[in-house]
Symmetry: D2
Subunit: 336 residues, 4 copies
Amino acid sequence: MNSKQWTIDDIGPKNLKISEARVEEARGNNLLIRTEAVSLNSRDRLVLERGMGSLLKFPFVPGSDMAGLVEAVGEAVTRFKPGDRVISTFAPDRIEGHGIGSARNPPLRTRGGVYPGVLSEYVTLPESWFVRAPATLDAGEASTLPASGLTACFALVENGKLKAGDIVVVQGTGGVALFALQIAKAHGATVIVTSGSPEKSERVMRLGADHFIDREGWVESVYQLTGDYGADHILELTGGANVGEALRAVAVGGHISVIGMFGGETISGPILPLLLKTPVIYGVSVGHRRALEDLVKAVDRMKLKPVIDSRYRFEALPDALERLGQGPFGKVVIEI
Amino acid sequence: MNSKQWTIDDIGPKNLKISEARVEEARGNNLLIRTEAVSLNSRDRLVLERGMGSLLKFPFVPGSDMAGLVEAVGEAVTRFKPGDRVISTFAPDRIEGHGIGSARNPPLRTRGGVYPGVLSEYVTLPESWFVRAPATLDAGEASTLPASGLTACFALVENGKLKAGDIVVVQGTGGVALFALQIAKAHGATVIVTSGSPEKSERVMRLGADHFIDREGWVESVYQLTGDYGADHILELTGGANVGEALRAVAVGGHISVIGMFGGETISGPILPLLLKTPVIYGVSVGHRRALEDLVKAVDRMKLKPVIDSRYRFEALPDALERLGQGPFGKVVIEI
Amino acid sequence: MNSKQWTIDDIGPKNLKISEARVEEARGNNLLIRTEAVSLNSRDRLVLERGMGSLLKFPFVPGSDMAGLVEAVGEAVTRFKPGDRVISTFAPDRIEGHGIGSARNPPLRTRGGVYPGVLSEYVTLPESWFVRAPATLDAGEASTLPASGLTACFALVENGKLKAGDIVVVQGTGGVALFALQIAKAHGATVIVTSGSPEKSERVMRLGADHFIDREGWVESVYQLTGDYGADHILELTGGANVGEALRAVAVGGHISVIGMFGGETISGPILPLLLKTPVIYGVSVGHRRALEDLVKAVDRMKLKPVIDSRYRFEALPDALERLGQGPFGKVVIEI
Amino acid sequence: MNSKQWTIDDIGPKNLKISEARVEEARGNNLLIRTEAVSLNSRDRLVLERGMGSLLKFPFVPGSDMAGLVEAVGEAVTRFKPGDRVISTFAPDRIEGHGIGSARNPPLRTRGGVYPGVLSEYVTLPESWFVRAPATLDAGEASTLPASGLTACFALVENGKLKAGDIVVVQGTGGVALFALQIAKAHGATVIVTSGSPEKSERVMRLGADHFIDREGWVESVYQLTGDYGADHILELTGGANVGEALRAVAVGGHISVIGMFGGETISGPILPLLLKTPVIYGVSVGHRRALEDLVKAVDRMKLKPVIDSRYRFEALPDALERLGQGPFGKVVIEI
């Protein structure tokens, strides 16, 4: 059987084309999955534009997050059966704890990067790379959980032990940010969203945000909104010198989750608030499979609906990538 | 009753002089304590030299850490009786959790700073500011626990959940560093000490260190000693750009405790190891009273003996401060 | 100044009478507080009926939980000023961690027991025994937090790290149970309430419960409602053999909080579910001051309103105690 | 290729016989492993004598813990290569968190039980079922880690966060008990061993125990040895009413790990120490793969040598089982 897939033979989104590849049968512990939806991340654009050093193997299939239906299972498969809807894991080797790597060579083995991506009609892969999809989401919604959903959940719940009454600052209105907003509200937290786009205020408030503030001068705004208390949890999605701003805004004993790196490759900030307020800074790299399973369970029970900015057909990937670059409100999804 | 005490009327160690002050009786929940020993910290020199903005009240008594004997107790005291040996707490308001402060105004209320210091023959203070001294230490040794001992213990045990087999990097051979070495060894960890003073190697190894490496190129040395694994715990006692080095040296999922600020008021480092290795960075500011009580209990049970570089008489404070500036091996203690 | 107070000179509620006692001035670290409200607990009835071995000192003032206004402060008080509304702590020595006691002699020093109670117009006591009241509650509501509110919060949040999507079983509709229901719902959990009083169903559901089931056969009901998954958190308010039922109902890796002891002085249960499902069983004894401060902060931010069954005047204490014995729906409060 | 293996066709150790079975080639993610050593557990005797309800499939191969050499690897294997020494995991599905199961149907899928056992010259099994063996142990020693070593480590380190200075009570001198003694000593704890066999005292003390006390009256002995403080951690290896004794002996806020069930199928104890001392009771069922990987790393770094009572040849299994029933001092190992 053949499968259509998007590939590049060289770095650069202009090299994207639809090709065909042979699909392996499901043997051993493999699943044969028909892809129903792929959710895009900013990282997909970075990988297409810059590559990943020498780590990509061409022809390279982009995309890290998918939902699909199990069509066939190998004879050693125990967790799934044909007809099950599954979602992928971002770092397939990371079933718990941390990814495979060392101090010198940090973990890098993720889908749509070192491992081939998911923009393919069919994939044949080990069952350990997948998690059962939530029962209450459609395939497009489910495909947004493996990276954006899990990152927000891992930062706030797994690391941050978020609780009702906590004050959470979320930076921006991208995929991770809106999941963080929804998850924080589900836990009874007070949520402050910072943004450079005032026109998004209404939609953010409709999602339950308590405050929508300008990205400029956000630290002072947080002081004022909280009576100088600060934020118990800050999702730092920018990096760079903004980490220093987060150190100023964080409450005594609060949590800062460093997630994004649009602010450059170096973080910096004042040492005094780190020493005096003794916050904890977490580096966050999505999360592990067990936490994704917990998220799936919680999504069903909380009735959380991921925010989807727009849905595109498989052939419209270039349009979807363009939309991704425009600062969408929520996730951009490809449906097959 | 009068008490001799060291004071300054203006910023600058040259203003140090011995004066006399009236000692209050022990009433209510106060203890009257005869000071037996005071342990000096680099911070004492910084406060004498630079002050603390406008926070010092003159005449100012320096020194934050003491051991002493309870001479009399107020009628409401429940935890101590005359004859008990006690040690002070660094941040007397911080019985647990975090100090009193906010995001805008971080906690600052510590002894020998916002609160008056301990270089005084007698002090009359609330019982809540004190902890019973270990039974197995003399007064000079006991006086080293409230800041140096507790900082090392808080970073490794309270925050870091240190366990046998963990790899610990300790930077330098000051008071906190040597406590960290001893505490880590007591927990069965492998300890690597970095230093710029090769002549200290022998003494460090005698204290149980597994490796003594040059401060220059320490990250590469850690890679080599650990087969690229890196360090599970790094006590970052310098700050500044050295935090970036710690991010390079830390193991996947490891802990970095930022404690010192000799490297300047700004920390900086590469974001990629933070995102990919997902370590946790803790700001450490000594610790709370409950953790000091745990440390006292553990010191007695472990038979841990603090490393004392030198002991001085009360009148020899200037000599002791000079010794402190020379990079002593362990703690400099004043005995009264 | 004199203060009216309820006292007994011997064990037995029939000995309750209103007497007068001299009120001390606020000196040192003491507060003079005018009591506004006292919240009753089942324990108050037990203490009145059975005493506490030889631990009560007569004349004994019952009651452990109060809210009041600071009228005057001693010269060493730092946390409060006249006019502040405060609430008491159940175990005044337990500012963090655990109470004072040992393996042989467990912690017992609580208000309205070893320490005198609060059913008094005025009290003069150390500031460390009090916490600022929430801004959003009246005095009657605030008085319900120190024991019932904190117990529920400690079990679910402090110990249990409750998160959205978790399944919580709450046994009964007493004070702790209804707080647990409200706190669990505020965190996005699914809540199942067991009860022997079907007529309470409507009120329980109005408070947000997801399911209301009969106490008889509750384990099987939990299996059925959760598709055999079980409960992530069980508040075991009965004790005795019901702990064994909780072991049957708990999810793999779940939490059981043992709180009450109406089921007798011995707990028992099957060992296999403990070994195979590896749950954690916590003994819960209210909680510490720091957690009460966290609860106060959260109550204001969550807008949680304690459920009050009925309010009585100071003189109507006997009526209030009778109501307490009838299985009230929420808290019974005395207002002064 | 054929492999010799021990099997039973019906419940009862008298049915044990050596048979031959065909060994599968290593395909997909499977490893072909030549067994070097098998470590026996009391559970192996229970399974042989009583079966496991209807869960055993005949012919049944007993034994859960092995060390062996990888002879060949399937084409999808990524973690091992031929020549690697590996050890098995007790519950192969449990890579992290908890085993597969529900409240109604607890996790049961372990080796030498629901899954076939390891008393076979060769096994062909998925790589996910194995962990790299420590470099510093021989095969016999390494084979003792998957159940006994991991159980002790999980109780004390993973659950209990053991730290230097803690007081640990270990009941008896079986495999788990001696690992617990060694691990606790490696972490700087004070260890009290209870036993009914005074002749074992010398060997226990040589392993580093601080105190060896009679099983009769052990609670009072713990009070006396600790000045009434009690034990921070108790490994409860008996179950039944002994859990009640552990509740009496545990320190305020301590940990009780319930592991064994020789004391019967029902646990019981007084509720008051549970409510007043607020200990935590953990049910322990060996542990997960990630914790076994941590243990392997720690064993190499700590130079921990498992205590082996006796080593038997493959053919001498019946003798080894008999020795197991005599209360060996440490582990009984079969070498092939």
